[in-house]
Subunit: 82 residues, 2 copies
């Protein structure tokens, strides 16, 4: 199982409730691809959101985010952690 | 105390040892600014590195990374977490 961090842009002014709702949509379907989204963070001023996930492949993470309605091409495999 | 995620680019092919060494340079001086770098991740294929930190301000995180020799302007305050 690999670890991934993905980056979403353009989420200016998004609230905690909106982030929680988007994250819940991932959680609802994540097991279809063997993915788990552990955490989501947001900086509403820069509009950047980040998700930390585990899963079998980068593509699996991409597909869940697409189906949940918040696609991103910026999904990085965290091969090294210290 | 706020939480921050920063992004570094261009670290293609960096090894675990090199990341650990860079992270250690942050840890050596972080208390000067009341910052703590909790974790660092690297995707050597895309050259992206990410650090998760706590600290008083975004500028404090920027200054430690500058002094440690790996400056980045991409430091995001994680105001919202789910």
């Amino acid at each position: 199982m690999a670890k991934f961090l993905d980056v979403h842009s353009g989420y200016f002014g998004v609230t905690r409730e909106q982030l929680a709702e988007a994250h819940a949509r991932d959680l609802e379907i994540e097991t279809d691809e063997g993915v788990h989204f552990e955490r989501a963070w947001l900086d509403p001023e820069s509009g950047k959101a980040f998700c930390l996930a585990t899963g079998p492949t980068r593509e699996a993470v991409v597909r869940i985010h697409e189906r949940a309605g918040h696609p991103t091409g910026e999904v990085y495999e965290l091969q090294i952690e210290v």
